[in-house]
Symmetry: C2
Subunit: 134 residues, 2 copies
């Protein structure tokens, strides 16, 4: 079975080693062997786990909920409803955050249009644009 050092994992996921140790500390990464009782060794299961963490983080799930998910997942038959509930609740939140982001982005882009015109007006000495007419 292929094994990896912490710096390999670090490069793989663009995460500092300290973060990977931190994830282990809070119980997000489990069963990390320490060879010679001091050096960490990772395998495919940790890579899978980190990929899942990455996805959940992108969906804005807080670390403690990601951890709870992995706990529930160990007995998915018992916990399928709980997991489903959790995922659906987060789906709503994620969709809301996407809507906010769209609103915010539109505002940013309006500012960009406006200040592009301001910049041009300043350079050519022409009158400044009107925000409300955009």
């Amino acid at each position: 079975m292929a094994t990896y050092t912490i710096s390999e994992i670090s490069q793989m996921f663009h995460l500092p080693a300290s973060t990977i140790r931190y994830y282990e500390k809070i119980g997000l990464l489990e069963h990390v062997e320490h060879i010679n009782s001091y050096r960490r060794v990772y395998n495919e299961s940790h890579i899978d786990r980190l990929n899942a963490i990455e996805c959940f983080k992108k969906a804005l799930l807080p670390l403690d909920e990601i951890k709870a998910f992995f706990t529930y997942e160990k007995d998915m038959e018992q916990n399928s409803e709980k997991i489903l509930q959790m995922m659906k609740t987060q789906e709503v939140k994620t969709v809301e955050r996407m809507k906010d982001l769209e609103t915010g982005l539109a505002h940013l882009q309006k500012k960009i249009r406006f200040y592009t015109l301001v910049d041009e007006a300043v350079k050519h000495g022409t009158p400044l644009p009107n925000w409300d007419e955009l």
Copy 2:
């Protein structure tokens, strides 16, 4: 000119009064009069400002950058390039965050499909679904 108390503003923006005071403290809200030297009074200009803050927050601009924007905006002719740079930089970041959110959402939705099937399988005593076949 219409004026508002802190609790009216609080309700208007769904922000606790403490947050509105905090924004004043860090310089995001300016020129807030304190009548009888103790009670805050807000007007339309503060409402405009808070609306702008809300939009920028949705675009994920940190408060110190929002503050910097308002400072630059006071002399937009001088600072149009700086503002434009700031908005464009943030636009890129916001778009990136939206992509992440989309990825995360897709992952969430796959989990929802999977655990819906798990839940059904458990209820009907049929075999569990396979994650990789979804």
